[in-house]
């Protein structure tokens, strides 16, 4: 017997509002259709009414988890339009913030995945760890969600004591190696719950143009930190974890291994941080007429900002944002096709969707 099951926009298995209509044959999903737009905010259009200071604060609100990444990408684009080059120390601080945010995002996701697996103890452990990462972010920036770290030409705050941050990171790393990493890379319970479900083949991943850990779990070895290095990433050694199975387990493993690589990058950045200025100082900015694009590897994948400016204008003429979830979400249809209905909440969560970004 065929029937349709609507999941969402408000549902216990969804963290944020979207809707997935699933067409089922018995317990098996034969097809699915996604609906988004329940919280569309029109931020891109609003950005055209804000000046170059206000627009940074506005775009930081696109996402509540990777807020720093949005201002980083926007500032990089605006630096291309003003000809400003941030000092080396600012580039290192940007890397530190970006990698701490990646840790925060991946650990948060691990907690939600654990909850959906029925592993509530791990959910609690992950959220306790996440708090500690947020403490480090707060110690650096003074804020826990919207950090206000990036400005055009550098960063707003220095890291005055990199060694203290490094001590905090190493403590976090030890805890993660003891708790999260073994669970998500080798625990029989987690592996068997996630193996073989929500498969996105390599061909489909390429065809859908998915990005980030979702792509890397399907054998697509793309990471902008390696392919098109920005900030100070070209100074660091790190691996890009890639898995070929394309299932939920592969996405789990990729993120767990990325946590370790983030710690590795943080250690290098905090140890080698160059001395000197961290921003270009107070001055009136002059924008060239033109369009600049900037891309950054956010925790969920590639974020793209296209910023257009007209000379002598205080406001951007256009700000376009392509978030990773916007590119990854359509692939959910292919992941849930053929899956058991009971697996679909975990499959959807496995792309680490962010509806706030999508409904920007």
């Amino acid at each position: 017997m065929s029937y349709k099951i609507p999941m969402g926009p408000y549902h216990p298995a969804l963290e944020e509002p979207y809707k997935l209509d699933m067409f089922c044959d018995g317990e098996t999903v034969s097809d699915a259709k996604l609906h988004i737009g329940f919280n569309f905010r029109g931020i891109e259009h609003l950005a055209e009414t804000r000046n170059y200071i206000q627009v940074i604060a506005l775009m930081e609100r696109v996402c509540g988890i990777c807020s720093n990444i949005h201002t980083l990408t926007l500032c990089q684009a605006m630096e291309k339009l003003t000809g400003l080059t941030p000092p080396p120390r600012a580039l290192y601080i940007r890397v530190v913030m970006a990698e701490l945010e990646r840790l925060h995002s991946h650990v948060l996701w691990a907690g939600i995945a654990a909850k959906l697996m029925g592993f509530k103890t791990m959910f609690m452990s992950c959220f306790a760890l996440r708090e500690k990462i947020m403490d480090v972010l707060q110690a650096i920036s003074g804020n826990r969600v919207n950090y206000s770290m990036n400005c055009i030409g550098g960063v707003n705050r220095d890291i005055t004591d990199p060694q203290a941050v490094l001590t905090g990171v190493e403590q976090l790393e030890r805890e993660m190696v003891r708790t999260i990493i073994p669970i998500f890379t080798s625990s029989t319970t987690a592996q068997s719950r996630c193996a073989g479900i929500g498969v996105l083949s390599n061909e489909k991943a390429v065809s859908c143009g998915v990005v980030g850990p979702t792509a890397r779990a399907s054998g697509v070895a793309q990471d902008l930190r390696r392919a098109a290095p920005y900030a100070a990433y070209s100074d660091f050694e790190f691996n890009v974890p890639v898995e070929s199975a394309g299932d939920v387990r592969a996405r789990l493993r990729v993120r767990a291994l990325e946590i370790m690589e983030s710690c590795r990058i943080l250690r290098q950045a905090l140890t080698k941080m160059p001395p000197g200025e961290w921003n270009g100082g107070e001055k009136k900015l002059v924008f060239f007429t033109g369009t600049a694009l900037s891309r950054v590897e956010a925790p969920r994948g590639e974020v793209v900002y296209s910023v257009s400016w007209k000379e002598n204008s205080r406001n951007p003429a256009r700000v376009h944002v392509r978030t990773p979830t916007f590119q990854n979400m359509p692939a959910i249809r292919w992941m849930v096709m053929g899956a058991r209905l009971a697996d679909t909440p975990l499959i959807q969560a496995s792309i680490d969707p962010c509806y706030s970004c999508t409904d920007r």
Binding site: H35, I36, G37, F38, F40, G42, E44, H45, L46, E48, T49, A77, K80, L81, V206, S207, C208, G209, Q222, L224, R226, A227, A228, G290, T291, A292, L293, S294, R295, E302, V304, S306, S308, A317, R318, H320, R322, F326, Q327, M329, P330, D359
Partner: protein, 135 residues
């Protein structure tokens, strides 16, 4: 000749890449969007996004199509004098949502496909130029 350098030749244009704002732009007015999409598939480029920009004085829109090739960002601008352009959805599955978003946000029609509601839930407002509404 690198893969990127060979693309203008594959597209049959004598224009060359212009590097600006972090993008290799190919500003060739004779190019057709479906031809570009087919060549991007041929060279295994990854679709990134479409940015719609409304031109001043009611001159229509400029749609900037972007692909990634080995970490390099390629840009192809297309001037849309009316409010329609051919869809490339059948050639590139990854454009599905962004074509729908541009249709909703700027009232640009993509010929050859139906655009179902995406970001805006109220059906009667679909295809409204939000840019004008905000201004």
């Amino acid at each position: 000749m690198t893969k990127i350098e060979g693309i203008p030749q594959l597209l049959g244009t004598t224009e060359t890449w212009v590097d600006e704002g972090g993008v290799h732009w190919l500003p060739a007015s004779e190019l057709h969007v479906r031809q570009v999409a087919a060549i991007m598939n041929e060279v295994h480029a990854r679709f990134v996004t479409i940015t719609a920009v409304e031109l001043s004085g009611g001159q229509g829109f400029r749609l900037e199509y972007h692909w990634d090739l080995g970490g390099e960002l390629l840009g192809f601008p297309f001037e849309v004098s009316g409010n329609s352009i051919e869809s490339i959805y059948d050639l590139c599955e990854a454009v599905d949502w962004i074509e729908r978003e541009v249709h909703e946000g700027f009232a640009v029609d993509f010929i050859g496909r139906e655009c179902e509601p995406l970001l805006l839930r109220a059906g009667d407002r679909l295809g409204v130029n939000l840019h004008e509404v905000v201004q």
